[in-house]
């Protein structure tokens, strides 16, 4: 099962990696590219910790092989803050105490960075429906919902 050399575009940068086809995107991001912000929880698509964006769409990195990703743009949590400033969502998560241990946080941020582009003014029920795909074992869901609502309001320009 020969290794192949693949070219990946991650956070706008080109990377080359020589990998077996069976290598999961989550492992290549963390082990080959050193981008350890993407966390690995269940490795079967349930927990959502490894969620990254593929061409802007939230995707489980543990259910994707790195060899599949040539020609697509991958975004990880490392690229969410721009010029050393938190995104509106990151800032709201900080202010609302929406993380405790922080393990689930990168997946939640990537999921909602994408979702808030699709739905700028989600209801609490809609937020909870989307959040159901990311498990938080500190069970801090209340504060995560509050943070997403706050971030949505800030992005709409309704509050600072």
């Amino acid at each position: 099962m020969s290794k192949r050399t693949i070219r990946l575009t991650v956070n706008g940068q080109e990377f080359t990696a020589t990998v077996e086809p069976r290598r999961l995107l989550s492992d290549v991001l963390r082990e080959d590219l050193g981008l350890t912000g993407t966390h690995v929880g269940c490795e079967h698509g349930v927990c959502g910790a490894c969620t990254v964006l593929v061409d802007g769409n939230p995707t489980r990195a543990c259910l994707t092989f790195a060899v599949q990703m040539e020609g697509q743009a991958i975004t990880t949590v490392e690229a969410v803050a721009a010029d050393g400033r938190y995104s509106a969502l990151q800032q709201a998560m900080h202010e609302e105490h929406a993380l405790q241990c922080g393990f689930c946080t990168p997946g939640i941020i990537m999921t909602f960075e994408a979702y808030l582009k699709e739905n700028a003014d989600p209801s609490e029920a809609e937020i909870r429906e989307v959040l159901s795909g990311n498990l938080c074992r500190c069970t801090g869901y209340q504060n995560i919902v509050a943070a997403v609502r706050k971030a949505a309001a800030v992005k709409r320009g309704e509050r600072a």
């Binding site: 698509g45 769409n57 543990c62 259910l63 994707t64 060899v67 999921t111 989307v130 795909g133 990311n134």
Partner: protein
């Protein structure tokens, strides 16, 4: 939790897929969205020698409208099924059902063809294909055939697809605007596979009597089940509360529920409750009301 080794192939046309299929030795799996297959690979429940990645086949990512039907390409993802305005207009039940599959990130990647080929007995799309009288378009190097959904699903994760065949797309008859519909899913946690799912279609004549009635459920046995025979006697009547409970009784009486990890007696009660809820929603829509 890591897959066993395999060779990876990424054809760029359906013709190249057939070429791969005829050329490769050993166990070969087709990879579409991967939201069911890759967990099975990670758990090593599946250990194929070759993986043929279909994600490069732009020709299978299409919607095609005719007067009577809408054909949807096998590579159309659940999120598009759930949010595309054309699908919402022609097949509102399909759009509604697709929105209940898994989670937001799973729906971005999972595909129509992949879900049908995987044929999980509790999955939404096989149930909806059976309920909506869809035809599955299966192509091999020898040609294309159409398999009615009712004949496509044969057992748990077993379909009528022959070796060398690939699902190209699915043809759904368009739902007339006056057709009422309802869809109810019960699962242990939001986004889990359903324990029981029930879909209902209903049309009323000018008199308010039922002129058409169709009901199907998943999670009962090896494939989704239609209840055409059990519900025949309930057509032609004016629906009310008594009618709804007679319908649920008739459906439950026709159910052969296998004993599994989740007790049959509980699943039977779910069939009873969800049948009434799905049909009540269908009735409300058929009467022109929108459901809250």
């Amino acid at each position: 939790m890591k897959p066993s080794p395999f060779e990876y192939h990424r054809p760029e046309s359906v013709a190249e897929v057939f070429d791969c299929l005829s050329r490769l030795d050993g166990e070969v799996k087709l990879l579409a969205g991967g939201q069911s297959l890759v967990p099975m690979l990670n758990f090593r429940l599946a250990r194929p020698d070759h993986l043929i990645d279909l994600n490069g086949l732009a020709e299978l990512d299409y919607l095609r409208m005719t007067d009577a039907a809408m054909e949807i390409g096998a590579l159309v993802r659940h999120h598009r099924l759930a949010t595309d305005p054309q699908i919402a207009a022609a097949l509102p039940l399909l759009a509604h059902g697709a929105a209940s599959i898994g989670h937001y990130a799973i729906r971005q990647r999972g595909t129509l063809g992949g879900s049908l080929a995987h044929a999980d007995p509790a999955a939404q799309l096989p149930l909806l294909a059976i309920l909506l009288d869809a035809d599955i378009l299966c192509r091999s190097s020898a040609g294309q055939r159409e398999v009615p959904a009712a004949k496509f699903f044969q057992s748990i994760m077993t379909t009528a697809l022959e070796p060398g065949e690939v699902i190209i797309g699915v043809r759904f008859p368009r739902m007339p605007p006056a057709l009422g519909w309802g869809f109810e899913v019960f699962s242990q946690r939001h986004g889990d596979f359903a324990i029981i799912a029930v879909g209902a279609l209903l049309a009323l004549d000018g008199d308010g009597r039922i002129s058409k009635l169709r009901l199907a459920a998943g999670g009962i046995g090896a494939t989704p089940v239609r209840f055409d025979e059990a519900t025949t006697s309930l057509v032609g009547r004016k629906p009310d509360e008594t009618w709804l409970s007679s319908l649920a009784d008739a459906v439950c009486a026709a159910c052969e529920i296998e004993e599994t990890r989740i007790p049959a007696i509980f699943r039977r009660e779910l069939v009873h409750a969800l049948t009434q809820r799905a049909m009540a929603a269908a009735l409300q829509r058929a009467r022109g009301g929108t459901r809250p």
